[in-house]
Symmetry: C2
Subunit: 250 residues, 2 copies
């Protein structure tokens, strides 16, 4: 397993170098070797957590990079990796393309799995291989979060069945159809149910990410990160003017 992982890394990085592409640094350099030696989940103090953001064609930019901005401040506690179906680039709905660090097959054991929304979710919910790969990652991870219509993919895995969850308020009725056993919450900035966090549309992911950071590392740490980003953190998961704006509640 370790060799497969290392070989995949070499092949990917090799192909970047061969093509003359500049990789500004090994995306996984920050993950300690001990992490690979012990592939079992470990939240030990000396070991950084690994956050895997699952991306796909036409993902939403702010769904992805709002939360990763907040977790990105925890350099000594969390390593961020981008996970996708194939090595190479995935293009956001707005245009810019992001590099995949790991495929589903060679991803390291993740402590946090996140999946954003975006126009591409309309395709991905019908891709059984993609949905099953997300299910496998989510089952194994102690913390799972979706942003916006990423909840549609997570719901499609069945893992949200019987749980409370929320999603984008404009796409609410479509997302509901992807998980009819889910208790969809119409008015919420984000919802926490067990190990699952689901957030409302696009910018809500940033508030949810800070709530998850507060859960994992303490409220002071989360508040410090928000202040550093000059971000006015909405700490109230019930504060959601967009449910009314979109006619979901009176």
């Amino acid at each position: 397993m370790i060799e497969i992982l290392q070989n995949s890394r070499r092949t990917f990085i090799g192909s970047l170098l061969t093509s003359g592409l500049l990789l500004a640094g090994d995306p996984v350099k920050a993950i300690s070797k001990n992490r690979y030696r012990n592939m079992e989940y470990s939240n030990a103090q000396n070991d950084k957590m690994i956050l895997g953001m699952v991306l796909f064609d036409r993902f939403q930019l702010l769904d992805t990079f709002g939360p990763l901005e907040m977790f990105g401040s925890l350099k000594d506690k969390v390593t961020i990796v981008i996970i996708g179906q194939k090595q190479g680039l995935v293009k956001s709905s707005a245009g810019p393309a992001v590099a995949i660090d790991y495929t589903f097959e060679n991803a390291p054991k993740l402590d946090i799995v996140m999946i954003p929304g975006g126009g591409g979710t309309r395709v991905e919910v019908n891709d059984a291989l993609f949905v099953n790969a997300v299910k496998k990652l989510a089952e194994q991870a102690p913390h799972v979060a979706s942003i916006c219509t990423g909840a549609a993919v997570l719901a499609k895995t069945g893992l949200l069945d019987g749980r409370n969850a929320t999603t984008n308020k404009r796409a609410f009725h479509w997302v509901e159809t992807q998980g009819q056993q889910v208790n969809w919450v119409k008015k919420a900035r984000w919802v926490e149910d067990g190990k699952y966090f689901t957030s409302s549309g696009i910018s809500a992911g940033t508030d949810m990410a800070l709530a998850l950071i507060a859960k994992l590392f303490g409220e002071d740490v989360a508040a410090g990160i928000a202040n550093g980003a000059e971000y006015e953190w909405n700490k109230d998961s019930q504060h959601d003017p967009f449910a009314k704006l979109n006619g979901l509640v009176d």
Copy 2:
């Protein structure tokens, strides 16, 4: 000029294909051919504007993708391209890497130039080639914006001399040293002075981007985008609790 541009695109895309990297789509496909035929600046109704985000090693994620999320909703009005010193990937301070669509040499004529902040600005302000390339792009563009410590690079070009500008409130005193002829505004979410917009730290760029969208396309358009992103837009450029938090004002 047109041929050089097209050849560069073929070479770049060719190298991606050769290396087996999946490029989910030509990053510039959305730019109409007419755009290339007429390289002069044109804000004609039938022609989309081009927004170029200048990236560099260790750029800040939310500085970049907050504004691009908002402009990304204007698919029929604005095409987004990522510009850098070299083709390939640039790595953010948080880890994830983004693909460069154009270098400084082959960039199309830009209607909007943006530059984010991040740890990398500490290096870039001392790279005369980089600063001069940003200066050239900014001089030619009718709209120029910096986010966070991106203002340090913009100040270093000299183009902000004698103008009002703001920047990240924690890094304020360092940024001041990069443009001693600039009138640095301590308390502001963002500052508009002529064609230059400069915003405060990290998340402030999103509010500034909406202000620029309001200027270019109308306030209703900007408000609609904010609502679609479930984003509570701070429309008041003077609302800045972080100036006091960081001891810049009483």
